[in-house]
Symmetry: C2
Subunit: 231 residues, 2 copies
DNA sequence: TGGAATTTGTGCGTATGTATG
DNA sequence: CCATACATACGCACAAATTCC
């Protein structure tokens, strides 16, 4: 066990024991070097081990901070935002809502006839007061005429669909890739431009198999872990 | 439909019809502007629409190129690399293989006693000759003594486990988040530093429920789409 | 608004212990 | 026993970002 590893283990224990809470600033590298009686480089190596595990996060000029635990977001047949983030103070805000003709891509995903009308909802999701995801949902307008009014009353998709007579909806497929945040996304999500986002494209159907939602969600990589169980 | 959108749709059709193959260079923006009889700015707006969808990729000073279609990589109970990428010339190369004491994190993931030995395999995966992922797999050494020899003979994890008497293994859980590539990863994956990677952490168990592999895989965001079916 | 102080990030040189051949 | 390579650790200096007055 090198000196670096033992220092890393010691700091890890302190964090696990609650010595520092998520978001707290650790002592400076210089202070830690003095406490452990080693060179600052050695402390930096130890902190790098913890950063590799995502346990701490250094900001140049500011300090090193205990990372907030990423929110676990289950991806399954039934994805319900508020249930998924129970205990993390989930919050959803509407950014825009419009009804327009579907793009080629949208009509293909929802198996609509070209030029059909769709409702498009843009929103932002928060957990513990921090933005965790941007989302765009696309619904066929045909059969869901009341959806915009319902969404304006309550931004919950599940509740709005229920108000339109869709009592249940299930996710058929999720496709996931990774993208970097552009300036617009970065501003809304309160991350730097170039931060990694996990993009999830999903198709949701009602009880009869009719596709009722095509959604794309951009999750902040360092704040959310998507969890897939394989039963 | 704006002129921009009609040009974008026209180019999209050409690409879909095979007019240009993945990797091909499109005509210059000036040439396209002349062909469609519009200003170069309009062509740029149309190309931006396609780039937004990941269909083309512009490189300053070089030109605009048709993006290679991302490989679909199913995430399910049975994840087998070669089957997953059938038709995309899957290839797996071993980067390193060592046996050492498990870190705290590794022994927790594999439910090992602290200090137990593990085999650690680093590898790189390619499809169609391009790197698509880096992976690190961690196996308990206890009960899998022959694994390193088997892996050196054949880098396939499934084959190596079979050689050690594990006839079948299934994925229990996948956790996904997004990270940016560091210099080492970028070099190996042939992407730029800062490119978005989808990181998948998975736990695999044998028929008796014993955890036999803890793996982490970093997929190049723009070359792979992870697909999760929700049956 | 500005500028000093603080803090992390980076580079270079040096030294030591441990394998390897 | 020597030469080499590698990882670890130390010391010093400066750059870059942030904070604070």
């Amino acid at each position: 066990m090198t000196r670096r590893d033992s220092i890393a283990a010691s700091l890890r224990d302190d964090i696990a024991a609650g010595g520092w809470a998520p978001g707290d600033q650790l002592p400076t590298e210089g202070a830690l070097a003095a406490r452990f009686g080693v060179n600052r480089h050695t402390v930096r190596a130890a902190l790098a081990v913890l950063a590799e595990d995502g346990l701490v996060h250094a900001r140049r000029g500011a300090g090193t901070f205990v990372a907030a635990k990423p929110a676990a977001y289950p991806l399954g047949r039934r994805v319900r935002f508020h249930q998924n983030l129970a205990g993390r103070a989930p919050e959803k805000r509407m950014l825009s809502l419009e009804t327009r003709a579907a793009t080629e891509r949208e009509s293909a995903a929802l198996t609509l006839t070209p030029g059909a009308q769709v409702h498009v909802l843009d929103g932002i999701s928060l957990a513990d007061g921090r933005p965790i995801a941007l989302s765009q949902s696309c619904f066929p307008a045909d059969g869901l005429e009341q959806l915009p009014d319902a969404l304006r009353a309550d931004p919950s998709v599940t509740a709005a669909l229920k108000a339109c007579g869709v009592s249940d909806h299930v996710r058929v497929e999720s496709r996931i890739d990774a993208r970097v945040a552009d300036a617009l996304q970065a501003g809304l999500l309160e991350v730097k431009v170039g931060a990694a986002l996990a993009r999830v494209t999903s198709i949701n159907a009602d009880g009869d198999g009719r596709r009722v939602e095509w959604g794309r969600t951009w999750f902040v990589g360092e704040r959310v872990t998507l969890v897939v169980d394989h039963p």
